[in-house]
């Protein structure tokens, strides 16, 4: 991991610690822990030249992970993201870094050639797990209502998986609405080096 614009690497490494801790929480199942840990590990360690750059974008609550033409990966966080929301967002973007690295390792036609629907489903599942581990009251994309919650502390244990899946599906529907179904269906191989 390297420092990107306006983000000294050592500050990010410090910010990564709560995400790393949450990923190993005993409140999560083994599968949840494994997915969350893979997202954290994907960033690598400071100055390890793994091609991952982390930086701050403009004001706002957005974030992006970009697989560049030279196969390096750039992660950008909106400067308004703070606290537990930053911890979970780091996990979300880390999941995207992991997805891109997996595809790069596997080759153009590998099973890792995911479209945006699949990528977002995985990343929101990790983000939801981290919110659960942190004991957050609730978690939804900034500006989203209850229908977009991927975690709520008040959910009954028996309903957690159903409601988590419903929240993630609703987010995918919103993302399709805000971009397009055609673009959401595009895979890494359809976008990279095109």
């Amino acid at each position: 991991m390297q420092a990107g614009p306006r983000r000294p690497a050592f500050l990010f490494v410090r910010t990564l610690l709560p995400t790393n801790e949450a990923a190993g929480s005993p409140m999560l199942s083994e599968d949840q822990q494994s997915a969350a840990q893979a997202a954290v590990d994907a960033y690598g360690s400071e100055n390890d030249s793994n091609g991952v750059t982390v930086g701050l974008g403009g004001k706002g609550y957005g974030a992006t992970t970009l697989l560049k033409n030279d196969d390096t990966i750039s992660v950008t966080f909106g400067s308004s993201i703070k606290g537990d929301f930053l911890t979970t967002t780091i996990g979300h973007e880390g999941a995207h870094v992991d997805q891109a690295q997996t595809w790069l390792r596997g080759g153009e036609t590998s099973v890792g050639d995911l479209n945006h629907y699949a990528r977002e489903q995985g990343a929101w599942a990790v983000e939801s797990s981290l919110a659960q581990a942190l004991g957050m009251k609730s978690l939804a994309p900034h500006g989203g209502g209850r229908d977009l919650q991927v975690w709520n502390r008040g959910w009954a244990a028996a309903e957690i998986e159903t409601l988590r899946a419903k929240g993630i599906q609703n987010i995918l529907n919103y993302m399709r609405d805000h971009s397009s179904d055609a673009d959401m269906r595009k895979t890494f191989s359809e976008e990279h080096h095109q």
């Binding site: 609550y61 900034h142 500006g143 989203g144 229908d147 993302m175 805000h178 971009s179 990279h192």
Partner: protein, 163 residues
């Protein structure tokens, strides 16, 4: 010595022309969304003014057509400059928080090449001026207002092509 002198003049002239071509114009070119969708590369490096819907949420920041285009659509990522003028900043801060749709006229430099955003965008508009906000909302997919066209529906183009 004379040929070298002439060569130098030609070289300097070429540099000046190349410099002018690379530098965005100060005066924005008015472009309809559908013109942009039809041949986006034609506007690469140019300063443009376009009436469009800004659509955004976590990991999405893009333009959408104010009316469906027969030419199809183009994925244009949107960034807002921190150097926007005061009026533009005021308008920007009144956008729905976190996610929404805003129909307005946007001005900025259009870029090609990419990838931009999450990797799915070959084009980007770096907005430094916002004018004439006509509509804004943060609706659920089931309650989309009429001013946000659904251009992926089968009969979308026949429902509007004003661009």
């Amino acid at each position: 010595m004379k040929p070298l002198f002439i060569s130098s003049i030609i070289l300097l002239t070429n540099c000046a022309v190349a410099g002018a071509a690379n530098k965005p114009q100060n005066v924005a070119q008015d472009v309809t969304y559908c013109e942009l969708a039809k041949s986006p590369s034609a506007f690469s490096g140019k300063r443009i003014r376009v009436r469009a819907i800004y659509s955004y949420m976590f990991e999405v920041s893009r333009l959408k057509p104010p009316a469906c285009c027969a030419e199809g659509d183009v994925a244009v990522w949107v960034d807002f400059s921190e150097e926007m003028d005061g009026n533009s900043k005021r308008l920007f801060h009144k956008f729905p928080k976190g996610m929404g749709f805003v129909l307005a006229t946007f001005e900025g430099v259009f870029q090609s090449g990419g990838p931009f955003g999450d990797g799915g965008y070959r084009f980007k508009l770096a907005v430094d001026k916002i004018e004439a906000v006509e509509n804004k909302a943060n609706p659920s997919p089931a309650h989309r207002p009429a001013w946000i066209p659904n251009c992926e529906a089968p009969s979308a183009v026949s429902r509007g092509n004003k661009g």
